[in-house]
Every structure is written in structure tokens, then in C-alpha cells.
Amino acid sequence: MNELVVETAGLTKRYGSRLAVDQVDLTVRRGEVYGFLGPNGAGKTTTLRMLLGLIRPTSGTATVLGGAAGAPAVTARVGALVEGPGFMPYLSGRDNLRVLSRYRRLPDTVVDDALERVELSARGGDAFRSYSLGMKQRLGVAAALMGEPELIVLDEPTNGLDPAGMASMRSLVVDLARAGQTVLLSSHLLAEVQEICHRVGVINEGRLLRESTVADLLGTATLRVHAEPTEEALAVARRVAGDEVRVEHGELLVPLPPDRAPQLVRALVEQGLDVHSVRHGDRSLEDVFFEMTTNGGTPARKEKVS
């Protein structure tokens, strides 16, 4: 399970004076759904392009499936949809996939299977240019699925899909992972990533801010404590939980799991402070994400890959 399918070291891409991707160390393990999360323009697509060999890194290395990113032997085992579907507008969806299946040296039967999986069979004969945005996107995903690649890279796969389309795309990704395929998925939709990804890498302004499991990312559970006087309560809470305790809207945000709430409350009461309320601060990936991305470029904290 811990075999690395993607590993980058100091991956950097510079366009003139602009650093699009800055020293990214990324790891994707076999069989997982990895969410690559970041706001628009954060460097997600540039990183994915480097993993696929479409662009060359300025410095650093990217290893995919044990080989250099972009080597023909590697890309043959990777399926990808990067920055929107790119197809011949005058060809039908089916013919577009047939062109690709010929490049991949796969039989034409994979084309119909792929169309089936993204629910495009009925419209497979229509010209690509007549497709809706969502259908184009699904055809892009179909192309990425052909030939059961070991790694599937999907860049914003739910772009342009309606809610039903998004839901079926999510279940498709979950199915892929169940079948043992590794999925590297970029998204700016946090709910989506939280729902289907095992691990996430958060990128902003070209830097990988954090890489960990979704559970770990959310896992620094927070207790919201309203105790007065606040200043003294803050001092006590910091003694118990460390320096990361913050004050927000008159409440203490204490990074402690729920089972340590009694210990905190006891310490506060022993100091003669008034404890008005203690509750679990449920954090969503969105909260974590905005915390990480708004104070911009905090140094990457990475869990060890074991």
C-alpha cells in the first residue's frame, strides 16, 4: 500500500521572474485517491503537467511509477485529463477516443467501455463540438480511463458538471480506487476532496503547504472554550495545550482532542476562572484550507512517509 506511485523532490517551475511551482515535494501512494488542493493559480496544473512530461521542471525531479516523469514507458501507464479536455472538434466523441486508443495501441473495444463508464455511449457518435461542457469533461475522463492505467491524473474533473454529474464523477473515482487504481485528483472543491480522498496535498502560491491524510488534516481537533477573563484563560490553555491556542471572537481555540476537555476545564477552574461553555469546534477541510492559504506560505509541514 505504501509503494510510491508519484514522488517529486524540489520540483520547481519558473516562468521568467514568476515562480509557478516552488520546491514541491509530493508523494502519492499506490491505491490511494490523492487530492491536490489549492486555489486557482496555485500551481496545481503546472505541477500535474510536469508529472506528465508536458512541461520540463526548471529544477527538481519527478518520479512516476518508478521512472522519470514523461518517459514514454511511464506515460503509457498513466491516464490523464489535464486542464480541460483537448479533442478534435470535428470528430465524434467515439472517434476521438479511437484516435487515442490507436496511440495507446489498445483495441477499439476499450473505447466503448470508456464511453459506457462516463455515460456517454448514447452521444458517442456526435461531433465533439456539439457536446455540452459537462459532456466534454466526461469524454476527457473517459480518455483517461482507457486501458486501465495504473495512475489516473484528473485535473478538476468535476469542472462544468451539474450536481448529478459531480456525484457520479465522485462515485466513479471511488470505484477506480476500489479497483486498485491510483488517482491523483486536483480540485478547488474542498467538500469533494474531503469526501473521496485519502490523502491531500495543499498547495498555494506554488508551495506545498501541507501533505497528510484528510483525517490528520482535520484531526487536530479543536475545543472552543469560552472562559473569563480571557487573557488568563489563554495563559492556562497554553500551559495545557501548547502555544497554538488562539483567541477568536472571545473564544479560545484549543487544539485538543475531545477526551482532554475535562483536563482543560479542571485547569481553568483551579485558577478560579469562569468557564461559560466548552464545545467541539468541528473543522471542515475548508476551515483548514483557508487557515493555511490566507496566512500564505507557512513552511511546509509534512508527515513522514512510512
Binding site: 503537467r49 506528465l52 512530461g53 508536458l54 512541461i55 520540463r56 514514454p72 506515460t75 503509457a76 498513466v78 490523464a80 489535464v82 486542464e83 480541460g84 479536455p85 483537448g86 479533442f87 478534435m88 472538434p89 470535428y90 470528430l91 472517434d95 479511437r98 484516435v99 487515442l100 490507436r102 496511440y103 495507446r104 495501441r105 476527457g140 480518455a143
Partner: protein, 283 residues
């Protein structure tokens, strides 16, 4: 099946169903029929010279539309509109994929960039070959028809002559198609590539030849230009005493020199194209 078979096979599928390829090939055939047969034959029948047939004697006019003249008829238009049309096709074949994003998709399928590019160039060569074969078939049909209507002997060209004619037409059209493909690769968009290519092939080369009369070094430069080589090769095929000479045909270079120059372009243009594609960031 190796990638060197897979890539042209894949590219041929998209080219075969590409309206632009059929339009360009069709336009060439229409122009070939018009300039090679219709104008000359109508002029012969009516006794009036058209601008393309100005000064040609009646006998020569009739001769030019008979089967024996087929090798010259199918080649005479290649240095001019034939080359320009194939250049447009080559430029579009290379550049459209950048706008559509289809090169990006194709280059993530597995085959190396060299294999994809060479495969695409090979399929372009097949399109040019098919165009030439179609020209031979159409020309043969029309000229035989005229011979029968006019009640003259249907004297077919020798196989050697026909082979030389078809080979010359293929080489000239292929060179311009490859030239267009390189331009399309460099420009990554059809408009600029087609525009620059047409200005080059139809205007700049002729201007340079004009300047060549004044400056020696420009004149020696013009001898290695693609248009000069194409025109000279076609001119050498027609040989001395050809009826009136075809538009754009030159005799600047000997047949052998012209052939060597053309072959050099046919080898060099793909090499440069592959180098450009291999070094490029596909953003």
C-alpha cells in the same frame, strides 16, 4: 505493433475525417482541372487564348490536354498553387492541435514526442501521396475523354514519364506540406502559420529573386530557396520546348541540383520540426 506504426495509424484516422484535408485536396484537384484542362481546351475549341494559354498554338494547346502530357500537367501547378495549398494543409495539421488542446492529450498517451510528430508527418505524406494519385486518375480520365472526343490517338505517357511526373509532384507538394507543418509547429496557431507561409511562398521568394538581380549574394541565396528548387525541378521535367512553360516554373537550377535541394528540405524540415516539438513546453 510498434509506436512507429501506431502513431501514423492514429493520425491518419483524424486526418481522414478532417474536412480541411478534403477541402484542400479538392481545391487542388479543381485548380488542376481548371488550369490543366478546362482553360486550355476551351481556348483550343474557341480559338481564343486565355491568360494561361496566351500565345500557344492550337496544336500545342490540344497536345497539352492529351494523356501523353499528363506528367507535365499534374506537375505544372505544384510550384504555385499546389505548394501553397499543401503548405496551408501542413500548417493547419500541426497548429490546430495546439488550439484544440489535442496535442496535449495525445502527448500524454505514451508514444514519445518524436514518434507522435514523425507519425503525424508520415500521415501528412500519405495525404500528399493520395492527392497525387487522385491527380493522376482525374488527369488520365479527363485527357482520355478529350482524346476520344477529338478523335485523336489515346497515346498514354510512358510509365517512366508518368512515374517521374508523379514523383516530382509528390516531392514538391510534400516539401511545401512539411514547410507548412514546421511553420504551424512554430506558430502554434493556424492563422499566423498560414499567413506567414503564404506570404513567403507567394511573395517573398519572388521579391528576393527580383533583388537577386541587383545583389549577387541575394541571388546565390535564392538558389537554395524551396520555391526555386520546386520550380526548377518541375521545369527540368518539362524540358526544353515544353509548350509555353507552366506558371512559376523556373530553370535557375539544373534538374539534379533541384532534386538534391528538394530532398534536403524533405529531410531537414521534419528534423527541425521534431527538435522543436521535443524541446517545447506544452502549456
Amino acid at each position: 505493433m510498434t509506436t512507429m506504426v501506431a502513431s501514423p495509424r492514429a493520425d491518419l484516422l483524424r486526418v481522414r475525417k478532417w474536412p480541411a484535408a478534403w477541402v484542400t485536396g479538392g481545391a487542388w484537384l479543381v485548380l488542376l482541372v481548371l488550369f490543366g484542362y478546362v482553360f486550355n481546351y476551351v481556348a483550343y475549341r474557341s480559338g481564343n487564348g486565355s491568360f494561361a494559354t496566351d500565345g500557344m498554338a492550337d496544336a500545342a494547346l490540344l497536345e497539352s490536354v492529351l494523356p501523353a502530357n499528363l506528367p507535365e500537367t499534374i506537375t505544372s501547378g505544384t510550384p504555385m498553387f499546389g505548394g501553397a495549398l499543401m503548405m496551408v494543409l501542413g500548417a493547419m495539421a500541426a497548429s490546430s492541435g495546439y488550439g484544440w488542446g489535442s496535442w496535449k492529450t495525445i502527448l500524454t498517451q505514451g508514444p514519445s514526442r518524436s514518434a507522435v510528430t514523425l507519425g503525424s508527418l508520415l500521415s501528412l505524406a500519405v495525404v500528399v501521396a493520395v492527392t497525387v494519385v487522385a491527380s493522376v486518375v482525374v488527369g488520365l480520365g479527363i485527357s482520355t475523354g478529350i482524346a476520344l472526343v477529338e478523335g485523336v490517338d489515346v497515346a498514354l505517357p510512358t510509365v517512366t514519364d508518368l512515374g517521374r511526373g508523379a514523383g516530382t509532384a509528390f516531392l514538391v507538394l510534400l516539401m511545401w506540406a512539411l514547410f507548412g507543418y514546421l511553420l504551424g509547429t512554430l506558430a502554434r496557431g493556424p492563422a499566423l502559420a498560414v499567413g506567414l507561409g503564404l506570404v513567403w511562398s507567394l511573395v517573398v521568394e519572388n521579391l528576393l529573386r527580383g533583388v537577386g538581380g541587383l545583389l549577387d549574394w541575394v541571388e546565390s541565396l535564392t538558389t537554395v530557396l524551396p520555391g526555386t528548387a520546386a520550380g526548377s525541378l518541375v521545369g527540368s521535367l518539362a524540358g526544353a520546348g515544353a509548350p509555353g512553360g507552366a506558371p512559376g516554373v523556373l530553370d535557375t537550377l539544373s534538374g539534379t541540383q533541384a532534386l538534391v535541394t528538394l530532398l534536403a528540405y524533405v529531410v531537414l524540415l521534419p528534423v527541425v520540426t521534431v527538435l522543436v516539438v521535443n524541446r517545447r513546453d506544452l502549456a
